[in-house]
Amino acid sequence: MKRDWDAIVIGGGHNGLTCAAYLAQAGRRVLVLEKRHVLGGAAVSEEVFPGFTFSVCSYVVSLMRPWIIRDLDLVRHGYQTIPLECSFTPYPDGRSLARGTDSEATRREIAQFSARDAEVYFEYGQAMGRLAAFVKPIIDSPAPQPTSKNPLEILELLRLGKRFRDLPDELFDQKLGLLTMSAVDFLEAWFESDQLIAPMAVSGIIGTFLGVRSPGTAYVLLHHYMGEIDGAFRSWGFARGGTGGVSLSIAGAARAAGAEIRTEAPIERILVEGGAARGVVLESGEEIRAKCVVSSADPRRTFMGFVGAEHLPDEFVADLSRYRYRGSSGKVNLALDRLPEFTCRPGDGPHMRGDIAIGPSVDYLERAYDDAKYGQFSKRPYINMVIPSLVDKSLAPPGKHVMSCFVQYAPYDLEGGAERWPEQREAFGDTVIDTLAEYMPGIRETILHRQVLTPWDLEQEFGLTEGNIFHGELSLEQLAFQRPTAGWANYKTPVRELWTCGSGTHPGGGLMGAPGALAAKEMLRARAL
């Protein structure tokens, strides 16, 4: 059989598509194979109920790298974001907090809980912005390898060390703290009001199996400030047409560069011959050959599912088996007959047009985590919800709305086994609605349809092992040169001509596209194709 393709990309999620687009732009013949009928992977828009389009999984654009948007000319291919105006949190006592683009209003909002915090808030934002500037190069380049014997790489490490060392004193202290502290401990050094600390701390736990008081969660706080250094007020926003719009724009760029994309083409296995990947075999039995294969699926699916332990070194298999996934979140998508309202702040307003966090206190969040530790979904979960139809009318019929609720904690390993999730699915959905109803008593009457996705569903439907939305926990020992395992964190694999480019590689999960782009660059640099 003749070699038709230079590269086969497994998975049509945003990283797979990004990788394909970069390879195609470099003149390589690329084929993308996606299991589902739609592109986007977990960054997908689907009309789940007639007339209602949802960002089924990933629901806001957060860290999409600006250089990728430029390189792939994504705006020309339809990439457009609508900034989130506000972060809103209601409290059980009837008060609420809206932090938005208007700094004077935000100051007043915070001052209702603490005048001191209202002042410190902006100082904090500036410090975090400066620290984020320090981190940016790390997520925009391959991870340095501390075990390397290559003098150039050692030099690179030393350079990184020097940059770190040369930080101004107070930033140096903060930086060390960020790497090792819990989100709450870190924030408590800045702020005094629990009402502010709780909603700020939650960004440290999204998608992890950790609580806001767990050490190691402070680091992710930085991500919230990455956007500011790219020029805009944070990079958080809704994608026009739902999150799938981002994926489709990347697909457009890939196609324009000559890549071919096939949907409903599930992979059965990767062809390995003589220790090298030669192509793939589809579930249909079709065999497609290529010079190299690059997988954007997570490590377990790629190596245990598509390659097989028999083609891999024992040590690598052992290392992969201890790479932790343990998904901790679910999604509840609601089609609404009309806009629901909060008791504490009735009606429409800026507070409805951003992200809304149900997580009123640090204790509340910790209790939600405690339930999960012992195999239960949270009795009162943390919910992060958005109503994108308020700013993007294409998503719902006139007057009606879509509401997307990210829910944590929903531990993959339920007591009694993950297989129990299908029977618990509706109870989980009810818990979410009950929680919402405490703040929006009328919400039940507005619900036309609901879609509940448990970690089990995320695994079954989207191929996310154990329902982990980041292809593996973002804990310190699973980042950078250790993602997914030490020695194989540079997109290469023990199988020659097989590469990886998913969120299970550096710099990890989130809608940023960096793993896909960096993998493609490494492949081209190594003249793999």
């Binding site: 501390p146 075990t147 401990d185 201890r322 910790e366 804990s475």
Partner: protein, 509 residues
Amino acid sequence: MTHDAIVLGAGHNGLAAAARLARAGKRVVLVERRAELGGLAALEEFHPGFRVPGLQHGTACFQEHVVEALDLHNHGLAWRSRPAEALAPEPDGTGLVFTPGDDALPRGLADRSPEDATAWRAWRAFLADARGLVRDLLARRPPEVRGGLTGLLAAVRPALALRRLGPRGMTELLRAVPMAVEDHLSEYFRDPLLKAFLASRAIEGGFLGPRSAGTTALLLMRECGAGRGVRGGPSELTEVLATAAKSAGATLRTECEVTAISVEKGSVRGVELAGGEKLEAPLVLSATGVARTLLELVPTSGLPSFARYAARHIRARGSTAAVRLALDSPLRWNGREDETFEHARVAACTDDLERAFDRVKHKLPCEAPWLDVYVASAERPELAPEGAASVSVLVHCAAGDLDWTDDAKRALRDKVVRVLDRHATASGIAGEEVLSPTDLRERYALDGGHPHHADLGLDQLFLQRPSPRLSHYATPVRGLFLAGRATHPGSEFLGASGVLAADAALEAR
């Protein structure tokens, strides 16, 4: 000036610092608030005829480099012939017997779980690889990575030591350090009792649970740092250190409370004592808490704001209570009536440890305490009347923020005795004493009632113990040094902080 150096606090670190300075030819005076030497290791009679060494359970992590620095072998120090064993009991009389720091298979493990016995060897091999490096880190001051060329060179040392482990050994160690001990242990072991015992060693006293990230680092420090221990226990070590200090010429003054540290033009001038007496010296080493030293004793005007900020933000959330029991007869563990154990840890599984920490986190009284038991009279029978036992139980899951009324203390005591009763015969309690975190704070002048002076989270260890810019013993006040448990390597490693602080002070002169 009448003295070259003043040392505050006669705990192991204060005594070690005084001895080190005196051996270097300094005229040293050490001042101690209480009537006896030893700080947290001072013997206390809690019931007539029954004594325990404060809060100090054993000396297993006492380091060789301290012995050498202070020439302790010539001042009466003797190592134990073998380390003290620790029991992980089960109510039915089975269980495990460990020798901390020892590679040998825990007694009972081969029967309980053959797979874990195999895994044990793999785990000890991992520790053996790390041991040299960890011990080296424990014996040195943290590198001053921002301190110019010498500081940089100091940072290169551990980096090279790490690389010498080879790519595999290096990445294994780097991977383990930030992990939660629960995750780390689960990669090796299945037996809940085995995991609970090891995890409890990692989290004790730290305001941590087994699922807290970074607790593996503590287990590594404590396991790699463990040795045979000192003959005679913590109080004997106090004697040895005091002898070393005195024979080198240091003056030790007890019942001598410091009320202020005098600072002039950014330099320390001495201390003021209760009663008005003033001692002058160009060097002051404080082995008491950092917050107490910098926020209470140093005048506000004498300290730059960053240091005040740092001292204020050191987290010291003491969550340890002590329950001391005077038993008529030896503590007899179920199924092991003929054996005597100095140490026992009563915890069935890591979830129990985590649940106990949940209660602390939510500032609630503990429901089901896990116990860290030390039978002080096992090695030194003179600490209890003949045939009786003097027992100290530390409960590391007693929230410090509670209102510790007498009722609350009694409730805690009852829970402890109930747990003990399930596992052993502890009949005939002749007397007892319960010390809540609040009591500990008052009795021992502990910041936050914390037996380690500061939480043991990853962000308060090594380069960051107790805080990034206070981690090299020196303070912004010239001549004032920190030498207590809140500095690297901390409280397990008795006297080591004192020696390293004294070295830093000597070098700075």
